[in-house]
């Protein structure tokens, strides 16, 4: 599996940490972190990661708004986005799919499984 660069946007520092550790341990991928939507967009623009893991529930600018903002920027709109959500319901999953995100991973998840899940979703 080729090395990938993953951007995790989540206001929870512990999530950033376990995602970083898990992905590194499981696949050895590079993980970039951002603790808000705005910072995430900046990082994405600057670093051009292979995939963005985006938390839905965030203060100020939530995941949906961040995703829409990402879509509005041509230089990042092609980067696949996978939502991380505590809302695991079928109806919500459909709603997220309709937005045009690449996939949804529900919390709680095991960060060691993330590389495999991401690869399956994005057909890497």
């Amino acid at each position: 599996m080729l090395s990938k660069r993953v951007l995790i946007i989540d206001d929870e520092e512990t999530i950033q940490t376990v995602v970083q550790f898990g992905i590194k341990l499981a696949a050895g991928w590079e993980v970039l972190t951002a603790s808000s939507g705005l910072k995430g967009i900046e990082t994405a623009q600057a670093e051009q990661p292979d995939v963005i893991l985006l938390d839905v529930m965030m203060p100020d600018m939530d995941g949906i708004a961040t995703f829409k903002e990402l879509q509005a920027h041509p230089e990042v709109q092609k980067i696949p986005v996978i939502l991380l959500t505590a809302k695991a319901q079928t109806a919500e999953r459909r709603q997220f799919n309709d937005l045009g995100v690449s996939g949804v991973i529900t919390k709680p998840f095991n960060s060691l499984d993330l590389p495999e899940q991401i690869s399956r979703i994005l057909h890497w």
Binding site: G22, L25, A86, T90, A91, P108, F109
Partner: protein
């Protein structure tokens, strides 16, 4: 041959001879004769005429006949005389001595040359007699009318009879007048009497049959009247015994008329003798005159009429009595009915008051609505909530009371209730203070004896507080669940990372502890997922998105998803899919199936089999999950579908169950209008089945 003069002389002589012969004849005639000339003066009269005019013959000569007439007759007589015709008529003649006489006259004109014959007959006496007779007749009629009137003034027979005898006694000046009633056995009795004080009374005296034999009765019945002037006179043919009998009472003369009874209902027109009206003269024999007979007969007829009337009256009284008794009976039962009704009404009123008291005390809207959607009963809550008093609402249409804000939502439910369905729904209403409230409404149809819907009972309760609490609960569960997930993710991932040993090696005990922490975390995750699922389904946030899907496909997907778990537990998972199109939300049916399969696998001993089968029914597909586990006691088959109701909680905890799986399954199936149930055969296993409608 005699000479003409001789012949004339002979004729004159002959005439004088005849005159001489007639003279005494005419002179002594009973009628008056007078000759008058053309001027109407008397030229000759006979003796009777002198008497009539009250003057001597000499004094009458040349006297005008008219001077004896009244002024009016004088003129008409002069006219008649001038006409020269024979005349017959009546005149009123006034004699010289001022005596007026009615006379009948006949005038024969020109009986001799310029002499007219006037024959006059005095009819004064005859006229006076006639007038007297007329007067007498009128008096009798008046008397009769008077008596009849007196009789008719009463309807009481006894009084009528008494009046009759009293009046007859008075008019006839008889010594005794009585009414004798004939009985059926031939005897009889005096039942009414008017008698002068000088003579013995025979009232109430019964006559033996011998004095009034059957033959007499028949004769009287045919209308015989007996007028006996003298009882001693044998020409009247009274039997000796009867003469003897009547003499006891000093009877010298008697007059007997029958009183017959006419039977209006009788087939024959034969009259029956009821009794006799008898007048006695005791002072002397008496010759009974026609008028007396007539009076007696007429009064006897009046008695007959009175009898018929009395009989009719009696009949009428009987009828009245019967009818009165009937009416009294009717009245009595009516009174009873009224009393009963009053009691019922009072009881009803009391019960209604009680009902009103109870319903008024309820903090819910209670009403009865008729089939025209008009209020027929409302409790006080209507006043408190809507500001409309029950009195004001009574008879109002629901649309009037609820207005355009609420009525449109109510209308289909009202129509359903009036078609006979029990309806329960939730609605929002606006109170008089403008507050919106959530209400739970139930309509219960009211059917009459013929099962026709006459209206419905409406119960509306305020569920706003409950709704608010439910919302808070839902929000709380939702928030808590979400908020728990993030730290759980960190915890879960951190434990997994530690377990890799890549961050340092733990002792065996340390690894054991790590495994416990990891398992518990996973269980906590499942529990939170289930709680959230259930909360969403119950709060109605879940939208079942039904589409056509293949039941076989769902079964295969579920089996595939559970295959790993089955292998882990050493259980064989067998499916017998059957292709049937169903109308369902595939994700949710899959969730229910995996849930049931996961339970079956977890509760099956190693080496056993779990079956997932499909069966197509008339309008539904039955999904069955069968295991070979230890089974479920019969009394718990229903309970297990309620939350946290595992058969053995320690056992299920060991299996990692949350206690919410079956509850979620039931909710999902109910949302699909299906049924879910469990059957169990202890020691042989259990079958969990649910239905989903097929696509029609």
């Amino acid at each position: 041959m005699p000479k003409p003069s001789q012949q004339l002389s002979a004729k004159t002589h002959q005439r004088q001879n005849q005159k001489r012969q007639l003279q005494p004849l005419l002179e002594n005639l009973h009628d008056a004769i007078a000759l008058i000339n053309n001027q109407g003066n008397l030229i000759d009269v006979n003796k009777r005429a002198c008497q009539l005019f009250g003057l001597s013959r000499r004094a009458l000569m040349k006297r005008s006949f008219s001077s004896f007439l009244t002024a009016f007759e004088r003129e008409s007589f002069a006219q008649s005389l001038r006409s020269g015709q024979s005349l017959i008529g009546e005149l009123c003649l006034c004699s010289a001595d001022r005596v007026q006489r009615e006379v009948e006259y006949s005038l024969t004109p020109n009986i001799l040359l310029d002499s007219h014959l006037l024959l006059l007959r005095d009819i004064s006496q005859r006229k006076a007699d006639m007038a007297a007779e007329l007067r007498r007749q009128r008096q009798r009629i008046e008397l009769f009318s008077e008596v009849t009137l007196k009789i008719r003034q009463s309807l009481q027979l006894k009084e009528i009879l008494h009046t009759t005898v009293t009046e007859v006694q008075r008019i006839l000046q008889a010594d005794r007048v009585l009414i004798y009633q004939v009985f059926a056995n031939g005897t009889g009795k005096t039942i009414s009497e008017a008698v002068l004080p000088d003579y013995p009374t025979i009232l109430d005296l019964e006559f033996p049959e011998e004095v009034f034999p059957e033959t007499y009765q028949q004769l009287y019945a045919q209308g015989r009247v007996r007028a006996i002037a003298d009882v001693q006179d044998s020409t009247f043919g009274l039997a000796d015994c009867l003469v003897e009998f009547v003499e006891q009472f000093q009877i010298k003369a008697k007059l007997i008329v029958p009183i017959v009874q006419v039977h209006p209902q009788a087939l024959s027109d034969q009259n029956q003798l009821w009794g006799l009206l008898i007048a006695h003269q005791c002072s002397s024999p008496r010759h009974w005159v026609e008028f007396e007979l007539e009076l007696m007969q007429q009064l006897a007829d009046q008695i007959s009429i009175a009898l018929a009337q009395a009989q009719f009256l009696e009949h009428l009284e009987e009828v009245v009595e019967t009818r009165t008794a009937e009416l009294q009976e009717v009245n009595r039962s009516l009174q009873q009915e009224i009393t009963d009704r009053k009691q019922i009404e009072a009881a009803l009123q009391q019960s209604e008051e009680q009902l009103r008291l109870i319903t008024n005390a309820m903090p819910v809207l209670i009403a009865y609505v008729d089939d025209q959607q008009r209020y027929r009963f409302n409790n006080k809550a209507y006043d408190d909530w809507l500001g409309q008093s029950p009195d004001a609402i009574y008879g109002s249409h629901l649309a009037q009371v609820w207005g355009v804000d609420c009525y449109p939502q109510m209308q289909p439910q009202i129509e359903a209730a009036l078609s006979g369905q029990v309806v329960a729904y939730e609605n929002e209403i606006v109170l008089k203070n403008g507050n919106r409230r959530s209400v739970d409404i139930t309509y219960i149809p009211h059917r009459d004896d013929q099962q026709l819907v006459k209206g419905f009972f409406a119960l509306t309760s305020d569920i706003s507080d409950r709704k608010a609490i439910e919302r808070m609960k839902d929000e709380f569960i939702s928030v808590v669940s979400h908020e728990l997930r993030t730290p759980l993710t960190s915890l879960h991932s951190a434990l997994k990372i530690l377990a890799t040993g890549r961050l340092g090696t733990l002792s065996n005990e340390g690894q054991q502890m790590l495994a416990i922490a990891d398992d518990s975390t996973e269980r906590l995750v499942r529990l939170i997922n289930s709680v959230l699922d259930l909360q969403r389904i119950e709060s109605g946030q879940v939208i079942i998105d039904r589409q056509i899907c293949d039941a076989a496909n769902l079964a295969i997907q579920a089996a595939e998803a559970m295959q790993a778990l089955a292998q882990q537990h050493g259980v064989s998972l067998v499916t017998q899919p059957q292709s049937v199109s169903i109308w369902a939300d595939a994700d949710y049916i899959l969730q229910a199936l995996t849930n049931l399969l996961s339970n079956a696998i977890k509760f099956s001993p190693q080496g056993k089999t779990v079956w997932l089968t499909l069966e197509q029914g008339q309008s539904e597909v039955i999904f069955r999950v069968r295991d070979e586990g230890q089974g479920i006691p019969a009394d718990q088959l229903e309970r297990i579908f309620e939350r946290f109701q595992q058969v053995d909680s320690s056992d299920s905890r060991k299996k990692g169950g949350t206690g919410l799986g079956l509850t979620i399954c039931r909710k999902i199936i109910e949302q699909h209008n299906g049924r879910i149930w469990a059957e169990s055969f202890p020691k042989y296993g259990s079958i969990f089945s649910f239905t989903v409608p097929v696509l029609e």
